[in-house]
C-alpha cells in the first residue's frame, strides 16, 4: 500500500528538469519576446519538505509553526543559507497563516523568540 517507495524515489531523481527543456515546444510554436524568455530561467525542481519524525501525526499545524520559527532562528543566528528552512515552511504552511505571522512580526506582536 503506502509502502511502495521505490518507484517514486526513482521518479524524484529524474525529475530535476530545467524549465527550458520543458518549454522548448511551446516556444517553437509561438516565438515569445526576449523578456519572457528571461523569466523562464526559473528551474522547476520537484521536491518538498521531507517527512519529519518530530511530527508523525495527522495534524501538521505544529510542524508548520516550528518550521517557520526555524527559518527565523536561522536568519537571526546564521543570517545566510536559510532558504531550505524557508522552502520547508512555505510548503507546509498556508499562505494566509504566514502573511498573518509576518504582519505580527512587523508590528512587534509576534509571540515567538525570533
Amino acid at each position: 500500500m503506502g509502502n511502495s517507495v521505490s518507484h517514486a524515489e526513482a521518479v524524484e531523481e529524474e525529475v530535476v528538469v530545467s524549465e527550458e527543456v520543458v518549454e522548448a515546444a511551446p516556444a517553437e510554436a509561438e516565438p515569445e519576446p526576449v523578456e519572457e524568455e528571461a523569466e523562464e530561467e526559473i528551474e522547476i525542481k520537484i521536491g518538498t519538505a521531507k517527512f519529519d519524525p518530530r511530527f508523525p501525526t495527522t495534524n501538521q499545524a505544529k510542524h508548520c509553526y516550528t518550521r517557520y520559527n526555524e527559518f527565523h532562528k536561522c536568519e537571526a543566528e546564521a543570517g545566510a543559507d536559510c532558504e531550505k528552512f524557508g522552502k520547508a515552511y512555505r510548503s507546509i504552511c498556508p499562505q494566509e497563516w504566514v502573511l498573518k505571522w509576518n504582519e505580527q512580526r512587523e508590528e512587534g506582536t509576534w509571540a515567538g523568540k525570533y
Binding site: V17, V22, I46, F51, T58, I92, Q95
Partner: protein, 264 residues
C-alpha cells in the same frame, strides 16, 4: 447473428451502460464504488469485498438457524420442548468461532488503517483550504518568497454555464492538477467552518478544520479526472463546492506549474 459485435454497437453500449467506462464521478442510482485510482482505494474496495464474504456467510447461517427453529419448534410438532440449560461444548464452539471470524476481519482492517496513515516521503505538497463556499489550492514548493506561491480558488460551474458533457454540480472552474506515480502530501485546512475534502476514486475523505493542518498522502496510479464533493455540512452552499482532481503525467504537471508560475 453475423457481426453481432460491431464497433458501432460497442460504442452505443457505452452510451446506454455508461458504467462500463471508468467511473470517477458519482452516478444516478449508483450502488457500488467508483473505480479506484490509488492503492488506498483499491485496498478499501478489497477490504469491503473480504468483509462482505463473512457477512453473507453469517447471514445465511443465522437465517438457516431461524428457519429451522421456527419450523421444528412449533406446538403441533413438538408439544414438549427439551429442557437443556447447559452445554459446555457448544458454548465453547459459539464463543471461539465468532472470535476467529472477528480476527479475520480485524487483521486486514488494521493493516489498511495504518497504511492509510503512512506518509511515504512526499515529492509534492499541495494545500486545500476550505472556504464558505469554495476551495482554495496552494502549490508553494516552487516559490522563494511568501507571496509568490501558486494560489487559486476553485468554484463550481453554475448549471447555466455548463458545456455539453460537463457534470452538473460537480464541475469546477479551476481543477487541482496532480502528477501520477508520485507521492503527494495534501494538507487540508479551513479558513472559516468545518469542511471535508473527499474524492471517492482516490479513497480520500479528510475534514478541514480551522487552525488545524490535516495531512494525507495520495499516490495516483492512473491519469483521469476525479470528482468529489465537500463532505462536512458547512452552510447554505455546502452542496455546491465540489472538488475536481486532474491526474496528469509528471511532464504535463511540470508544464502546468511553469505556466502557472509565469502568471504570477
Amino acid at each position: 447473428m453475423k457481426n453481432f459485435v460491431t464497433p458501432g454497437r460497442v460504442c452505443s453500449s457505452f452510451v446506454i451502460f455508461p458504467t462500463w467506462a471508468i467511473a470517477d464521478a458519482a452516478e444516478p442510482w449508483q450502488l457500488s464504488f467508483q473505480d479506484p485510482a490509488t492503492p488506498i482505494m483499491q485496498g478499501l474496495i478489497d477490504l469491503h469485498h473480504d468483509i462482505f464474504f463473512f457477512m453473507v456467510f453469517i447471514l445465511l447461517f443465522v437465517c438457516w438457524m431461524l428457519f429451522r427453529t421456527v419450523y421444528h419448534f412449533s406446538y403441533d410438532k413438538n408439544p414438549i420442548p427439551q429442557k437443556i440449560i447447559h452445554g459446555t461444548t457448544i458454548e465453547i464452539a459459539w464463543t471461539i468461532t465468532p472470535s476467529i471470524i472477528l480476527m479475520f476481519i480485524a487483521i486486514p482492517s488494521f493493516a489498511l488503517l495504518y497504511s492509510m496513515d503512512e506518509l511515504t516521503d512526499p515529492s509534492i505538497t499541495i494545500k486545500a483550504i476550505g472556504h464558505q463556499w469554495y476551495w482554495t489550492y496552494e502549490y508553494s514548493d516552487y516559490s522563494s518568497s511568501d507571496d509568490q506561491s501558486i494560489v487559486y480558488d476553485s468554484y463550481m460551474i453554475p448549471e447555466d454555464d455548463l458545456d455539453l458533457g460537463q457534470l452538473r454540480l460537480l464541475e469546477v472552474d479551476n481543477r487541482v492538477v496532480l502528477p501520477i506515480n508520485t507521492h503527494i502530501r495534501v494538507i487540508i485546512t479551513s479558513a472559516d467552518v468545518l469542511h471535508s475534502w473527499a474524492i471517492p476514486s482516490l479513497g480520500v475523505k479528510c475534514d478541514a478544520v480551522p487552525g488545524r493542518l490535516n495531512q494525507i498522502s495520495v499516490f495516483l496510479k492512473r491519469e483521469g479526472v476525479f470528482y468529489g464533493q465537500c463532505s462536512e455540512l458547512c452552510g447554505a452552499n455546502h452542496g455546491f463546492m465540489p472538488i475536481v482532481v486532474e491526474g496528469v503525467s509528471l511532464e504535463n504537471y511540470i508544464d502546468w506549474v511553469s505556466n502557472k508560475l509565469k502568471e504570477i
